[in-house]
Amino acid sequence: MPMLNVFISIIPLLLLSAAFVQLAVIPTTLPTPAVPQVVVPGANVKVSLTILIRPDSYVVETNGVTTNTIPRPAGVSREDAQATAVRAQLGDALKAIAGGDPKNHEVQIVAEPTTRYEDLIDVMDISRAAGLPEAGLADGAQGAQ
C-alpha cells in the first residue's frame, strides 16, 4: 500500500509543524520621553494618564500629579493571591480615572530599566481591562539608560 505509506509519513510531519499555540499581538508606540504636562487651572485639557512601574509599587499619575500609589510585593509570582489583589487594586484605580474621562483611551507606561517584559504586558492588560486600550511606552527619569 504505497498510498498508506505516503499518508503515514505526511500526517506526523504536518502535525509536528502545525501551530497549536495561539499568538496575539499588542500594538504599541515607540518609547518617548515622558514630559510632564503643564495644566492651566480651569482650562479644558485632555487628561494625561501615566503608570510608573517601580520595583516596589505602581504609581498612577494624572497630569503629572500622583493620584495612587499601590505597593506591590517583590519576588512574588503573577499567580500569587497577593499579586492578584494588587493588580485588582490598580485596575480599580484606573477604572475610576478612565470613568471620569470616557473619551480618553490612552495611557503611558513608564518602566524602569530592569522592569521585566512580563510586568509591562501585565500593566498593559490591566489598562486595557480598565478601558484604556492605547498603551504607549515612555521613559522615566532612569528609563533612557
Partner: protein, 165 residues
C-alpha cells in the same frame, strides 16, 4: 475430546478472521485528517509561530498577528527573521542607544522588502515589526530594540504574546 478440539479449531478460525485490519476505514480516516491539515495550512498561511527558545508572556490581548518582520529577543540573543544579529549582553553594555548590528540588518531589509515576506504569496507591511520577547527580558533591552527599529524606519511595532486560554 472431539468436542474440545472442534471448539479449539473454531476459536482459531475466529481469531484469524478478527486480526485482519480493515484498511479501507483507516484510509478514510487518514484522508480526512490529511485534508483537514492541508486546509488549515492554506487558510492560516500567514500565521505567526513563536520563535524557538523564546517564552512569550501571556496576555488577554486578542488581536491576531499579521505577517511581518519578526525581531526575537531571548535571554542571550537578538534575532531578526531567525538570523542572530546581536547579543543581549552587547546591547546592555553598550552606551549607544542604538544596537548597531541590528540597525545594519534592518537597513539591509529596508532596501529589500521582498526578503521580509515569509513566502512569495504573502503580503507584508514593510513598516510593521513584531517583537517576540522572552517574558524575563528587561525593559532596557526592549527599549533599545524599539529605539533602533524606530530609527531604521520601522515605526509600527507590535508585541507578541501568548493568548490567555
Amino acid at each position: 475430546m472431539k468436542h474440545r478440539e472442534k471448539r479449539k479449531a473454531r476459536f482459531r478460525r475466529g481469531l484469524k478472521a478478527s486480526t485482519s485490519v480493515n484498511l479501507i476505514s483507516m484510509m478514510d480516516i487518514l484522508t480526512v485528517l490529511l485534508l483537514f491539515l492541508l486546509k488549515s495550512y492554506v487558510a492560516e498561511g500567514e500565521v505567526m509561530v513563536p520563535v524557538k527558545g523564546v517564552k512569550l508572556p501571556t496576555s488577554s490581548a486578542e488581536q491576531t498577528p499579521r505577517a511581518s518582520l519578526v525581531v526575537a529577543i531571548d535571554g542571550d540573543k537578538i534575532r531578526v527573521g531567525g538570523i542572530e544579529v546581536a547579543s543581549v549582553a552587547q546591547a546592555i553594555n553598550s552606551e549607544d542607544p542604538i544596537i548597531e548590528p541590528l540597525s545594519k540588518r534592518l537597513e539591509l531589509l529596508r532596501q529589500r522588502p521582498d526578503a521580509i515576506a515569509p513566502s512569495a504569496t504573502t503580503t507584508v507591511d514593510p513598516q510593521l515589526v513584531t517583537i517576540q520577547g522572552d517574558r524575563k527580558i528587561e525593559y532596557r533591552v526592549l527599549r533599545k530594540v524599539m529605539y533602533t527599529l524606530g530609527r531604521s524606519g520601522f515605526e509600527n511595532v507590535s508585541l507578541a504574546v501568548l493568548r490567555n486560554t
